[in-house]
């Protein structure tokens, strides 16, 4: 089981914009480098990319939740 962590402190988003679907849903294949969410830090949006491959299990951090650097954002199952 791999977790994807936040590279920066900020606000975490599951979706590219409020009207879109989340980047990933349970069961989706995840490749290294896939974007799984956004972290807004000081009005700048940074893409959060998977650093491991696997199958998407769930977001651990809520949509629009404040997160710290290194905090777990999502889990992959192998």
């Amino acid at each position: 089981m791999a977790t994807i962590q936040s590279p920066l402190p900020g606000t975490f988003y599951h979706k590219p914009d409020p009207d879109s679907a989340p980047f990933k849903s349970e069961g989706d294949a995840v490749a290294v480098g896939d974007t799984i969410g956004l972290v807004e830090v000081m009005k700048t949006f940074i893409e959060v990319k998977a650093d491991a491959a696997g199958t998407f299990k769930a977001y651990v951090a809520d949509n629009e939740a404040p997160v710290t650097a290194g905090e777990a954002l999502a889990e992959l199952s192998d």
């Binding site: 920066l8 402190p9 606000t11 000081m42 009005k43 940074i46 404040p66």
Partner: protein, 460 residues
């Protein structure tokens, strides 16, 4: 009514700045803050502080009901909105007035009117302020466009009448280009907006950004001269000056007079800024918009005129007449402000909300720092990256740049990456020293590798 207890509906450096003037006027301060901002300097320095909600600005600093409730609860008789957040929301100004308090700014009606581009342009034209020449309304045919373009002069910018956000904008240098581009723009506008109507405006290439600081008391208005803010990245000002040395005295006078005329014509109250594009080749200026608030770069105007603009806006909004007659406001020397943002200028300006481990500020005559830092302070990641402004006042522009370079080398903010290296490189740049910049200058300068980390300098 003279204000006795002022609620500050903002955060960061401007909250600290407003408190300084309020205290100098003997006014009590109430500071609002979000859950993420409890440790901020403005909370520590205020007479009272009230938490108004979670970190997310939409639920705290942008929550009108929460701010009004905090003002009622603490018995505030006035609200200062600072800049950003609710500063230019007419609904907020109205809610403050409806609650029986003073809004430190213009009336809600004025905010509404000047915040609407079309209404602001009409108000400017009515007051005799030059605006960018353009078609009066929408154009339906290419023939109409060609006829109007010959009146306003090439190059012209072709915009979709229904559009926004820069979509479908084309620039035609002559009639042949216009005849080719106008039908394309029409088709694109029809596809994107369901409306093929076009609008034409003179395209001003490589303009300078010049703005005039005004102050009104509801009937009279004065100016505090102009600022030049042409050094911009992604439409954000990074370096601001007072005055604009590219202007001759006659142009300066007519520019500043035009700003006062517009302020008077709308019965303006409080501090405001009229922004203009300046076409240096034609020595012509054009009004683009008005900001109905105090601005980030107000200190440079304070430095050259020896005034306190924040105190003055609090006084006039509390019912006082203007403190200064126009002839009593004089300018001396040249001032520059640079914005220190918590960003890494060597990594595409990536935000860097770190913890402040050490602080060293520049000292000396004509040097000022507006900031909200202290040792140990953890910068929250939820808001703007501006953490400090270094402001210098010199005998002339060259002296101010030299003073700025010295001030920046004496500044140390431990634990953060900041834009100090950007400003040091700008101080050393011959084009900046010559003042030969415009709003499209900084980004290509950055893209062509003029800013390099110290260790790799000269390697390219």
């Amino acid at each position: 009514m003279a204000i006795k207890r002022l609620l500050i509906a903002n955060r960061g450096e401007i909250a600290v700045r407003i408190q300084r003037s309020a205290k100098a006027l003997g006014i009590e301060t109430v500071q609002v803050y979000s859950e993420a901002d409890a440790p901020m300097l403005a909370v520590k320095q205020a007479d009272q502080a009230v938490c108004i909600g979670p970190a997310k600005a939409a639920d705290s600093y942008l929550n009108i009901d929460a701010v009004i409730a905090a003002a009622r609860e603490t018995g505030a008789d006035a609200v200062h909105p600072g800049y950003g957040f609710l500063a230019e929301r007419a609904a907020f100004a109205r809610a403050v007035a409806d609650a029986g308090m003073v809004f430190v700014g213009p009336s809600a009606d004025t905010i509404e009117r000047m915040g609407d581009k079309v209404a602001a342009r009409e108000a400017a034209e009515a007051a005799g302020v030059p605006v960018v020449p353009g078609s009066k309304g929408r154009l339906e045919t290419v023939d109409d466009a060609v006829r109007i373009a010959s009146d306003i002069g090439y190059p012209v910018m072709i915009k979709a009448a229904a559009g926004g956000g820069g979509k479908g904008i084309r620039i035609a240098s002559n009639e042949d280009e216009l005849k080719t581009m106008a039908p394309q723009a029409q088709a694109e506008a029809a596809a994107a907006f369901g409306d093929g109507g076009l609008y034409l405006e003179r395209a001003i290439r490589s303009p300078r950004h010049i703005e005039v600081q005004i102050m009104g008391d509801g009937s009279d208005a004065v100016h505090y001269f102009e600022r030049e803010c042409s050094l911009q990245r992604r439409r954000q000002k990074v370096w601001e000056e007072a005055g604009a040395t590219c202007l001759d005295e006659e142009t300066r006078q007519s520019l500043c007079a035009s700003a006062v005329a517009l302020a008077k014509s709308v019965g303006y109250r409080g501090a405001g800024t009229l922004e203009y594009l300046y076409d240096e080749a034609a020595n012509a200026f054009y009004f683009i918009e008005m900001n109905t608030r105090i601005q980030v770069e107000h200190p440079v105007s304070e430095m050259i005129t020896g005034t306190d603009l924040v105190a003055e806006m609090i006084k006039v909004c509390g019912g006082a007449k203007l403190s200064h007659a126009q002839e009593d406001i004089t300018r001396t020397g040249h001032a520059i402000e640079v914005r220190l943002n918590a960003e890494d200028p060597f990594m595409q300006f990536m935000p860097w909300p770190g913890q402040v481990t050490g602080l060293q500020w520049p000292q000396g005559e004509g040097v000022r720092v507006d900031h909200f830092l202290y040792e140990g302070y953890q910068i929250p990641p939820f808001y703007d990256s501006l953490v400090a402004k270094v402001i210098v006042h010199g005998a002339d522009r060259a002296d101010a740049i030299a003073k700025l370079a010295t001030a920046l080398s004496a500044t140390e903010i431990g634990g953060l990456k900041t834009t100090i290296p950007l400003h040091q490189a700008l101080c050393a740049d011959p084009t900046v020293q010559a003042g030969a910049v415009h709003t499209q200058w900084l980004e290509p300068w950055l893209d062509t590798g003029h800013l390099m980390p110290p260790q790799s300098q000269g390697a390219a």
